[in-house]
């Protein structure tokens, strides 16, 4: 009896040792943001907010397919399984909703909830209207007139003018739980304590300005995107050297945008540094009213003056040479004019335009979202331009001041011949059209320097009414080629989106997008 008891005890003890409780797997991400992006719906902190908080907690009616590295990310069904323009009304889009989707608080996705989510960002009389998120989302919602329930499973969105690009704007329009908002009495501060989306992660806790912790949503509607780790910790860490040190010290597993000088050290310590083209453009928007950039010869001269290979070398290879608004991997790239490095041609063009030496002033920032390494990069551009006959003055300011210059436009700031603000080129309205359309002249839009071209206006008007994606893409490609021919910018480079991963991190697929999917990541202790 005693022997049996001892044997049983040994077996029990052995089984306890053999089957330890499975430790929680945690993915810790160091973001470049200086604060935790708003987690109550439409995030702030630029696209980084959407990348880490938006797509983790929430879904839109249309999502982005971030599952592949080899092609540019495109739209994919999200909370809507199908969408299309009403054949009888080219200002009415119809969305068919996914069935049986529940929010993290068990609230059910239905047409009423979707309509409320649309209205709360366009109509200040809708309960839960949030003025800050309304403002933040304005460029996406400005052409949306209203939303309407068709039946429990269908919703219509009406636009003010025919808008074939609406799906891009819907793709960043997150659906939040109306039940959670009602429970919070439509008080955003209270909702922030228990937010609920339909995304692959659930809110767990937050320490303001320090960390946001999310946990796996095992019941996520898309089984392919159920996270392969238990917890996601998002930490704002704006200083690049600190991010690299935190990764090397094992405090985080995944860092955004390591600076070029830290990359060799990270690699030699076994970290995986990954880069991939994505829709980013580091350029100068030009002033088309004041001389000298109102002359296309001067714009072309500036583009021929740049030795972009030297720029890429200076950046340690984390960028690719930029010759057009879109990077070459973009589907709308087409066959733009390639302004090869040709200093002799640049000087000749300046002389032909009667601007030699050609004095110009650029407004630049010391840092900022997507600005890469603005000071050394601008210094190099200045040196290269001056080598062909430009006389360049760089007016250095902080990011907010430069945004103000960009926002108010060339009319308010005629002393600048160009501004250096990098942009996301993820979708045609934001990536291309806002730089070339008269409707977008500052301060009403993103066409800072008041570029105007009737040929482009006609093509864009046609594209807005073209609901066949393939035909519309052909039209957009044409616009891109014209914009390049006209040298509407001083094209410099496209970022390669570097990030560094600890050896513990496996399975990450970097998408050609500003957004990324963290759900496939597995954490392997002592992983190589």
């Amino acid at each position: 009896m005693t022997a049996e008891f001892v044997a049983a005890a040994v077996v029990l003890a052995a089984s306890t040792v053999a089957l330890p409780a499975k430790a929680e797997t945690v993915l810790r991400v160091a973001m470049t943001a200086g604060d935790i992006p708003d987690w109550t719906g439409q995030p702030d902190q630029g696209f980084e907010g959407y990348r880490f908080v938006g797509w983790s907690l929430y879904d839109a009616l249309i999502n982005w397919d971030l599952s592949r590295s080899d092609v540019e990310a495109g739209l994919t069904p999200g909370l809507a399984v199908k969408w299309g323009i009403d054949p009888a009304n080219n200002k009415r889009w119809v969305f068919e909703l996914r069935k049986d989707v529940k929010f993290h608080d068990d609230c059910k996705l239905d047409a009423d909830l979707v309509v409320w989510n649309i209205q709360r960002l366009i109509d200040d009389k809708t309960p839960g209207f949030n003025p800050v998120q309304y403002s933040r989302h304005r460029s996406r919602s400005i052409n949306v007139e209203r939303a309407e329930k068709i039946d429990d499973g269908k919703v219509a969105i009406y636009t003010k003018t025919p808008d074939s690009f609406l799906p891009y704007n819907v793709s960043v329009w997150y659906m939040i739980s109306k039940c959670a908002m009602e429970k919070a009495n439509f008080d955003n501060a209270l909702y922030a304590k228990a937010p609920a989306g339909t995304g692959p992660y659930k809110f767990d806790k937050v320490v303001p300005r320090e960390r946001l912790e999310l946990t796996k949503n095992a019941d996520y509607w898309n089984p392919k995107r159920v996270p392969k780790h238990d917890r996601l910790v998002l930490i704002p860490m704006p200083e690049a050297t600190t991010r690299a040190a935190a990764l090397l010290a094992g405090q985080v597993d995944f860092i955004e945008a390591p600076s070029p000088d830290t990359i060799p050290r990270l690699k030699s310590s076994g970290m995986r540094v990954i880069t991939l083209p994505y829709p980013h453009n580091w350029h100068y928007q030009l002033n088309f009213v004041e001389p000298p950039f109102n002359d296309v010869r001067v714009r072309r001269a500036a583009n021929h003056a740049l030795n972009r290979a030297e720029m890429v070398e200076m950046l340690g290879g984390i960028a690719q040479e930029g010759y057009a608004t879109y990077p070459p991997n973009a589907k709308l790239y087409g066959n733009p004019v390639k302004y090869e490095y040709d200093p002799a041609k640049a000087t000749a063009l300046l002389k032909e335009a009667g601007c030699h030496p050609c004095a110009i002033t650029f407004a630049i920032s010391t840092s900022g979202s997507g600005q890469m390494q603005p000071l050394p990069m601008n210094e190099l551009v200045k040196a290269q331009l001056e080598a062909v006959g430009f006389k360049v003055k760089l007016d250095v300011m902080d990011w907010n001041t430069l945004l103000d210059v960009s926002f108010k436009g060339r009319e308010k700031y005629p002393q600048y011949n160009g501004i250096n603000i990098s942009r996301a080129t993820q979708d045609p309205p934001n990536g291309l059209l806002r730089f070339v359309m008269k409707q977008q002249w500052s301060p009403n839009g993103g066409n800072w320097g008041w570029y105007e071209n009737q040929e482009i206006e006609d093509i864009v008007a046609e594209a807005m009414r073209t609901f066949d994606d393939e035909i519309r893409d052909i039209l957009m490609t044409k616009v891109h080629e014209i914009a390049s021919r006209e040298a509407i910018m001083l094209f410099v480079t496209h970022d390669l989106n570097p990030r560094a991963l600890s050896p513990r991190v496996h399975g990450f697929v970097q998408a050609q997008s500003w957004f990324q999917d963290l759900t496939p990541i597995t954490i392997v202790e002592g992983g190589k």
Binding site: S135, P208, R209, T242, L248, G446
Partner: protein, 331 residues
């Protein structure tokens, strides 16, 4: 005069002095509110551009400006802000929507953790080393110790912070590089090693400048006191050197205390560079974010609270000096 009479007289004088200093602090506080309110409006940029997409219309900007009251004249905004501020309401952050008082309170408590540590480290080391340097003034020991203070003042502390991270976090792996630990500042305690270790590198980095400054001041004060005639008298009376130093320290302390108070005030103001390097969510980190995004309510609230802390610290130092040194009281 009996002992109890002396104590009563002392208390009376102290209260009178404290009352006078507190009354002096009121116009300083009002001046601070005017300056901190006005300064943020002088900077270029627009708080609305951080809230709006790049292609938002002027109408959207005007809508937000009105919503936050920025469309009103600055004196009207100031009056409204001041009325709210005296009730403890510093407004709401434009960026986060959270009350400024809670944002600043949290950041201030985090900064106090490291500034208190830095203060204790710097003050104790600087006082001992400065006293030794003053005692051996002009001799090799003085030169060696003075070199330490020069290093403390001269080495850029953001550089030192990075070096410490590289050595102790990356290479040796004995101390964490950034942050306040896995639970953040919510449950941070200096009495729990797992959390306290996050404060060590920021504390060392932060202590270097005050260490150098206080050490130099202590050295000068001790050397000056030791050159006085009464020290000769003490020595002539055969007092041991340890007692002589004790007298010198007592005489030099009020002067050094004033410098310490100033340094503590500076530290509580937070260091933008150090807190950014260590991702320490204190007042410096908060201010840098608020400056970059033109979060005016946070800037105004943080500057006001920090200025008040500075005024309060100086007041406390003045009172302490008065308690220690009767000559000041009589003056």
């Amino acid at each position: 005069m009996t002992s109890s009479c002396w104590h009563a007289e002392f208390k009376k004088l102290m209260w009178a002095y404290a009352g006078r200093r507190i009354i002096y602090a009121v116009p300083i506080a009002i001046g601070v509110t005017v300056i901190c309110f006005g300064l943020v409006f002088l900077a270029p940029g627009d708080p609305m551009v951080n809230l709006l997409p790049p292609d938002a219309s002027p109408a959207d900007a005007a809508y937000l400006r009105k919503l936050y009251g920025f469309d009103q004249p600055v004196p009207v905004q100031y009056a409204k802000w001041l009325l709210r501020a005296v009730t403890g309401d510093l407004g709401t952050s434009l960026q986060t929507g959270r009350p400024v008082i809670s944002e600043v309170g949290r950041a201030l408590s985090n900064t106090i953790v490291i500034s208190l540590g830095a203060v204790l480290l710097a003050f104790s080391l600087a006082f001992v080393l400065g006293t030794l340097a003053g005692y051996y003034a002009g001799r090799p020991a003085d030169r060696a110790l003075t070199a330490v203070s020069v290093v403390g003042v001269s080495v850029p502390n953001y550089w030192l912070g990075m070096v410490l991270i590289i050595v102790f976090s990356v290479e040796l792996g004995v101390l964490p590089a950034t942050g306040m630990g896995s639970a953040g500042s919510d449950t941070f305690s200096l009495f729990n090693w797992e959390q306290a270790k996050y404060a060590i590198l920021p504390v060392i980095t932060l202590s270097m400048v005050p260490l150098g400054i206080i050490m130099r001041n202590t050295r000068a004060a001790i050397a000056e006191v030791l050159a006085n005639d009464f020290v000769q008298t003490l020595r002539a009376k055969g007092l041991p050197e340890t007692m002589v130093i004790r007298h010198a320290v007592r005489n030099a302390f009020p002067q050094v205390l004033a410098v310490m108070g100033l340094q503590f005030g500076y530290l509580v103001g937070g260091s933008i560079l150090i807190e950014t390097i260590f991702t320490w969510p204190g007042t410096g980190f908060l201010l840098s974010k608020a400056i970059l995004t033109r979060d005016i309510p946070v800037l105004q609230g943080a500057i006001l609270v920090l200025a008040m802390c500075f005024v309060a610290t100086n007041l406390a130092v003045d009172l302490l000096q008065t308690a220690i040194d009767p000559r000041i009281r009589r003056a």
